[in-house]
Amino acid sequence: MNKKIASIADAVADIPDGATIMIGGFGGSGNPIELIHAMIDRFRETGSPKDLTLINNNAGNGRIGIAAMIDIGMARKIICSFPRSSDPRAFTEKYQAGEIELELVPQGTLAERIRAGGAGIPAFYTPTSYGTELAEGKPTATFDGKNYVQERWLKADFALIKAEVGDSYGNLTYRLAARNFSPLMCMAADRTIVQVSSFVEPGGIDPETVVTPGIFVDALVEVQKPQQEEVLIRAGESYV
């Protein structure tokens, strides 16, 4: 068993139009810039993938990564908690022009819905958003005198993930706080594609410190010295 894929272009070659894609990261931390830019490269050459539904905590920043995908018209919808950033132009313009749909989800509910998708829990109750406009139309229930909103699981066709160390079975560790949504998204996608900064043979990661077990990972590609979204933005880079 070897889940390693030779090139980053190959890693994203199968993503079809209309796919729902979870993208790891919280702002720039954990954002798989190289996988995203490989999708953009493919879109420029072939016109695909487009009509995508993106799931991420944010809606892109500046003119790179997710923001660039939105700017050049690859996304039809985004599911996120916070579609603002230091430079939110790409999303804001599309949103105000009615060219992208927004499903706004409280951050903890977003995380739990993704975990539920990965864990086979079709629905759960949370106090979050009860009585607010974000709960409108959702079933509610009372437990022990307290009110809760019923939330549904969230799954995806693909997850694009940035990890630190990976082995050929797909076991992963993450760097510092860059794990954030990624271990959950690995669980919740039909096909999880991971860029790792460093590739090791099975046994190269201590079994006690594996964060994402390989069962949740379908493909890995090595991207040594990956770019960091925040650094690119501060340098004024653009991928549009």
């Binding site: 068993m1 864990a119 076991n171 099975p202 046994g203 069962i215 949740f216």
Partner: protein, 226 residues
């Protein structure tokens, strides 16, 4: 009438259908025997409910580390690339459908895929473990079992009479006498022992065996019944 395959042979037959790269959970007891017959050249990763992926065979006696056990509380070893995780993550793997195959034992399997394998009588202390989770956990849920009970009663039945473990969950049954798929609420006979007639096999079976296409011979090498 033939005795059919012994347990080792049933386990061997089930092992032949485990694909390269599969993630597999083997139920406690008899199903654990399937791991002994891993097909050469295929890489199979075994999952145990208590939080290990990628474990290997039992250690030599005296070499056990009792903090490293399987769901049956037996000592295990690790293969390179193994991982540990907590119980909620472990059952996320199960309930979330991340396993490719789960292989369990059975008291009864019904033609609609219902499985009874957790409680035979009402006197004993009831104990369920992970059985009710596992039946909803894998892309394919296979059962391995003798075709009949020791006193000759069929285990493949129209409706389970023992308490259910799960509804409509079993997709394939490997028995001492046959290999049967469950599709659309029917038992579909895929393989049978070469030396048993269809009529005799049907007589040992508690529900109609349907035939759709060829019925192959159920064969296994000579294996000692451990």
């Amino acid at each position: 009438m033939t005795d059919g395959l012994n347990n080792a042979q049933i386990a061997w037959r089930a092992a032949q259908d485990i694909e390269d790269g599969a993630y597999v959970n083997l139920g406690i007891g008899f199903p654990e025997m399937v791991a002994s017959y891993e097909v050469e050249g295929r890489h199979v990763t075994y999952h145990t409910e208590n939080g290990v992926l990628g474990f290997g065979p039992a250690p030599e006696p005296g070499e056990e580390d009792w903090d490293m056990i399987n769901a049956g509380k037996k000592a295990i070893t690790l293969k390179p690339g193994a991982s540990f995780f907590h119980h909620a993550d472990s059952f996320a793997m199960v309930r979330g459908g991340h396993l490719d195959v789960a292989i369990l034992g059975a008291y009864q399997v019904a033609q609609n895929g219902d499985l009874a394998n957790w409680r035979a009588g009402s006197r004993a202390v009831p104990a369920v473990g992970g059985a009710m989770d596992l039946v909803h956990g894998a892309k394919r849920l296979a059962v391995i079992t003798t075709h009949c009970t020791k006193d000759g009663k069929p285990k493949l039945v129209e409706e389970c009479t023992f308490p259910l473990t799960g509804l409509g969950c079993v997709t394939r049954v490997y028995t001492s006498h046959a290999l049967v798929d469950i599709e659309d609420g029917r038992f579909l006979l895929r393989e049978k022992l070469p030396d048993i007639s269809l009529d005799d096999l049907q007589a040992m079976t508690g529900a109609k065996l349907h035939i759709d296409g060829d019925v192959a011979g159920l064969n296994a090498p000579v294996l000692d019944h451990a």
